[in-house]
């Protein structure tokens, strides 16, 4: 490969995509190892989704649809990063980070930052 092509490739890898302003974020979390972030955003159609990304939030690695009707104000990865819990007024959801499958939905959670926690083995999720 010519040197100019290699430099062009490296340049592409370092240039941030220009995709407009950051999304409006309701809640955000970092995976325990810090390499993956999750943000809860409201789409243009009013539905809420969780975006998982490692470099740019505009280019998510995965997008998880949610059932939240009220603002998501708590978001948390499980210790292994395999699960993600989200809470808003009256709703607690636990989803698989890999495919978004809902493994638990609990009505009645008050929500609020710091209102959800995973046990170290992720066998339990706790909510106020």
């Amino acid at each position: 490969m010519p040197r100019w092509a290699l430099l062009a490739l490296l340049g592409c890898a370092c240039v941030r995509p220009q995709l407009g302003p950051p999304p409006q974020v309701e809640a955000a979390a970092l995976s325990p190892l810090g390499g993956l972030a999750a943000i809860a955003v409201v789409r243009a159609d009013g539905l809420r989704e969780i975006r998982l990304w490692s470099r740019w939030p505009e280019v998510p690695d995965a997008t998880l649809p949610t059932l939240h009707r009220s603002p998501i104000d708590a978001l948390l990865f499980s210790p292994s990063g395999a699960l993600i819990a989200s809470a808003g007024l009256g709703e607690l959801l636990v989803q698989r980070a890999s495919d978004g499958v809902i493994v638990r939905a609990e009505p009645g959670a008050p929500g609020g930052e710091g209102s959800i926690a995973f046990s170290s083995d992720a066998h339990f999720v706790v909510s106020t």
Binding site: L30, G35, A117, F124, S127, T128
Partner: protein, 165 residues
Amino acid sequence: MPIDQPSATRVAAALDKVAVGGPQLDKTCLYDLPSGIVQGCYQTGGARCLALEGSGRFLAAGRADGQVALLDLRAQPPAAYAGAQLAGPVDLVDFLPGPRLVAAQRPTGTDPAYVQLVRLDRGSDELARHIEVRRLFALGWRRAGLALLGERCGEDGCRLGIFGP
């Protein structure tokens, strides 16, 4: 398993215990997981944020006065320490590998964000500095060290990202 602790709004969990507290409560209580049996209640002051170290040894509570109350739950009786001291209300607290305690104050209208990282085995600060961010959402740990999730602004606009301190 329901736990009856009125006014509690903050939780943290470890392998076999749950800590429950809140800004309106002077004490943070520990419960066995999954039985829900109370193990004890400790004077932490009102907790704006809570963290339990993964093994359940340490409990940290961030307060409005900038202090982080740190309890060693393995001591008999549990011993209290001043874990960290920030200039303003503590918004985020967590335990990171090392073991380390991290506490942060989000930016307000006049003050920048502030992060303090404490090595628990040495009892000394590893990092204590202001951070230029517009918003600070979360703290974590990467191979390179402390990781922050937030929004930074520069000449070309504001960007959400994961960055170091």
